[in-house]
Amino acid sequence: QDIYIPLVSKGFQHQFWQAVKAGAEQAANEHNVRITFEGPDSETMVDKQIDMLSAALAKNPKALGFAALDSQAAIPLLRKAQSAKIPVVAFDSGVDSDIPVTTATTNNIAAAALAADKMAELIGGEGDIALVVHDQTSRTGIDRRDGFVNRIKEKHPKINIVSVQYGSGDHLKSTEITKSILQANPKLKGIFGANEGSAIGVVNGAKEMNRKLVIIGYDSGKQQKQAIQDGLMAGAITQNPVGIGYKTVEAAVKTLKGEKVDKVIDTGFFYYDKSNMTDPKIAAVLYD
Amino acid sequence: MTPLVTITGLDKSFPGVQALKKASFELLPGEVHALMGENGAGKSTLMKILAGIYQKDAGTIRVDGASVDIPSPRAAQDLGISIIHQELNLMNDLTAAQNIFIGREPKRTLGLMLDEDALNRDAAAIFARMNLKLDPRREVGELTVAMQQMVEIAKALSFRSKVLIMDEPTAALNNAETMELFRIIRQLKAEGVGIVYISHKMDELKEISDRVTVMRDGAYVGTLPTASTTMDTIISMMVGRSLTETKEAIPDSIGNDVVLEVRNLRRGHAIQDVSFSLRKGEILGFAGLMGAGRTEVARAIFGADPLDGGEIMVRGSTVAIRSPRDAVRLGIGYLSEDRKRFGLATGMDVATNIVMPCLRRFLSLGMFLKSREIRDTARSYIARLKIKTPSDSQEVRLLSGGNQQKIVIAKWLTRDCEILFFDEPTRGIDVGAKNEIYKLLNTLAAQGRAIVMISSELPEILRMSHRIAVMCEGRLTGILPGEGTTQEDIMRLATQRHSTTATGSTTSAAARELTQ
């Protein structure tokens, strides 16, 4: 019998979401269920995501995976799922509601705070730093920015954040942004790039300007791993996107079988750099 | 002698109209063959089929005795047929020379680069042959309609075809250019070129054509040698009855109120200190050579173009006219000489165009259109001006040129203005309709409207005007009475150049040539 579980995600084209998708597909194979994975082009398109959710529900799924761009907006449809007895598994950031049976997530705020601590450590606890973030209004963008900024403010008062700019996760745009930040701040010591595209952009920008500085990235991907290997990037935070995808599908299957699942599945996050990249535990959560 | 072109049994229909019904036509080498007919008779359609623009539904076309197919303009060019279109067909952003040689540019450097110098040289040579003073590097969009028409003619000449079709080439031209054109036509004729000449200016027929073919309602009526045929015969073949032309007695309007007075109107070089007044019930003719500034004066008074200075008084009080809207509110209407560009929304239907200046009158609750009344009004004008259209909802662009012109007139008749500027009102209109328009103008004047009629046809000016204002190079050089004035009188004023200060001989020579 065909068990169908659609996953409606926050994005699709970015490598992070492709890794989530890969994890979900892996679990789907193991548990012999069918999944689809969809997400809007940009994390601002809240209503497009709602339409995707609506189409997913029209396909009579057995269960549903959902990473909400804005959890409030989805509540009417989630209620509909609930009344149709379709269990919902939230992933990435949570849905502010008790409808989802569980949430497979990492804490973006805590992860970004860890990046802030690492940054402080590497620049010696004082000086100017900046942030290149992918999005000004999306949940992940806000959490990573606030997690980082608040930690600096609380714990590292001698560090001064001179600029926070947003580049849509577009590699080229983030490169240009980084270059102007560097141009405007000759004494800048470090930059935090809040997702893969932003982090790569920061690396490119620093390279093109021929500037040595501490770069901390987020997520993985071939280029970011390479940059760490080459010493251009100090290190990066990784969540476990493959794990998020895997656990989401697994939780859905378990719920369908009537098994109990925990209310929150923490897939964890790690800081990785040159020293621990090859550690099997870390290597397992990195993707190309 | 084998005819250059023989057309027999040609049929062509458009949605809603059968434009040609078994039409036939014959053109001999070295002849100028006039093609006559009322507006919408199918002249342009017949010629467009010959030029490869439209495809025939049935019938045969023979060129040099051989039956041919003409699927495209290129094919027509290859057969040695070229055409001067009735409607201007130019690329406004390109220069005159570039327009003339589009598709046949001279090249250099491995055939890749255009030889712009050769291009301009060749164009200049053609202009020289036409006695035309025009820089080949001027952008066509900046030229006046008349100049654009000359560029079209130059383009057709540049093909050196053996069949040259001229669809109302002189509609926008003045006597001087017309004479120049005729000189060229005679030259081509001597070279053995066959020329099809379409015009609504009857007097041109006698002068230039050898034979006349008349069409009516898309069908062939007959072919006659021009020399031995009277105008009345041709006209009655065209319209199916005979017309009488009479100059009406000039009414005495001296005592009437002045409705429009213009003092010291100025704008750059185009308008220099123009002053005149216009009375109720009067038709004031505006004569002058091409580019004399008549259109400029009319547009300036109408608020279409800004002024540098001057005073305009309507019904005795000074007014500020900043836009056409102000003018229309003061009861001034203006029929543009370029209907396609300034007169009509050609993509919209006949009724919409007719009521455009007074849409306000056809609104209920100040918002909703009274469609029935709009349609009724449109239909009444279609009937009154004998506009040939399948219905009032036909798009204007699908009508024949003359009928489009009638719609512009209808447009301002509906508005019922007290002061009307008619800029070349009969351009492209057939004799029958012209008479109708003359009658209309006279009726309007008799009703107390004040009319300014700008025209480049001296006979028309002389026939219609109560007084005649003559312009030259932006200045008003004189105002003549309607009674007793001759063409020579007008030409003297029209060539009173400021710059050359009239060295008697040249002026009178020009005048002689222009009036013929």
């Binding site: 969809e38 398109m45 809240v46 | 007169g343 993509g347 849409l359 918002m367 469609s371």
Partner: protein, 334 residues
């Protein structure tokens, strides 16, 4: 002569809102019918009432924006700001209702008024300052996008203090009267906006001038019409309609999302052009626009229902949009 009768029928069809001529026209948009048939055969889930309502609801926002864009495009202009203007209006509603706690009707009026105001600014830039519509509305798009972020403090504004706000687009007035037809109010609003706009375009002076401006602006001006004034009005009306779209989307999401909106203009303009309105102005119908918007929604939804991989969805959408327009061109030729 029969052809003349046809012409007249066609013209009549043009002038009325939902006459037989108009119905003929709907059928003529074979692409939509074909698409729906194919999807119904391919998946039993497609023609489910829930899904059809989902499609309609997905059309509501884009449909209203497309109607707004239709006005402007018929004048021969273009409006790139419809999407961000919609967002701006949603944010204004949020400020009035949530930040200032004013009653709902005030918030609704404010959103529509903000749309009209922004539209009139575009209109003035284009008509009076002669800035090309593309640039004027591109500038407005950026300006409004920035302002929406500034005003909202780069945060979504939730309408939790206005419990009735979701009613605007989510609940179903029709469903309360006819329980078997639970069409959401957002769709009802689209219908009302479309019918009203169609009447304005075909039966009022504003509509007549809208077409005339697109057909030959200079000729209209020389007819003594205050073309600048009417152009500004057209952009104002278009802006007000974007305000309505802002209310629909805000109500649907129960929040004003300040970053949303860019990119929506392309969908809206695409709907207009697929619906047969020419970008060079002078011709177009609201009915066509609505069908264009429906084609886009049906296509998007159908491909999702068939579980086509997302990258292939984009490919197929591109191809089908081209084919749909081509089919329409062929139909009109014959």
């Amino acid at each position: 002569m029969t052809t003349i009768a046809q012409q007249t029928a066609l013209a009549a069809g043009k002038a009325t809102v939902f006459s037989p001529g108009a119905w003929q026209k709907i059928l003529a948009f074979a692409s939509l019918v074909v698409l729906m048939t194919v999807f119904s055969i391919a998946s039993e889930n497609f023609l489910q009432p829930d899904n059809i309502i989902g499609i309609l609801q997905a059309t509501a926002v884009n449909g209203v924006l497309a109607v707004a864009a239709t006005f402007v495009i018929i004048t021969g202009g273009i409006d790139l700001s419809v999407g961000t203007l919609m967002t701006f209006c949603a944010v204004i509603a949020g400020v009035f209702l949530t930040y200032w706690g004013l009653p709902m009707p005030v918030g609704i009026m404010a959103a529509i008024a903000a749309g009209a105001l922004a539209g009139s600014v575009s209109g003035v830039l284009i008509a009076k300052m002669k800035i090309p519509p593309f640039i004027a509305t591109l500038g407005m798009m950026m300006l409004l996008k920035g302002l929406a972020l500034v005003i909202s403090g780069t945060r979504p504004i939730y309408f939790n203090d206005t419990p009735n706000f979701p009613v605007i687009s989510q609940e179903s007035l029709i469903g309360e009267i006819l329980p078997f037809l639970p069409i959401p109010n957002g769709v009802l609003i689209l219908f009302v906006v479309a019918v009203a706009s169609s009447i304005v375009l075909t039966r009022t002076a504003l509509g007549r001038y809208t077409f005339a401006l697109g057909s030959n602006e200079e000729a209209v001006r020389l007819s003594g019409v205050n073309t600048d004034f009417w152009k500004i009005i057209v952009y104002t009306v278009s802006g007000a309609i974007c305000g309505i779209a802002g209310l629909i989307i805000a109500s649907r999401l129960n929040s004003a999302q300040p970053a949303l909106g860019q990119g929506y203009e392309l969908d809206a303009i695409a709907a207009v052009v697929i619906g047969g309105t020419s970008l060079s102005g002078g011709r177009g119908t609201i009915l066509g626009t609505i069908i264009g918007a429906l084609i886009i929604s049906v296509l998007t939804n159908g491909l999702r229902i068939l579980s086509v991989a997302q990258e292939w969805q984009t490919v197929v959408t591109g191809i089908i949009i081209i084919l749909a327009v081509y089919a329409d061109i062929l139909r009109r030729k014959s």
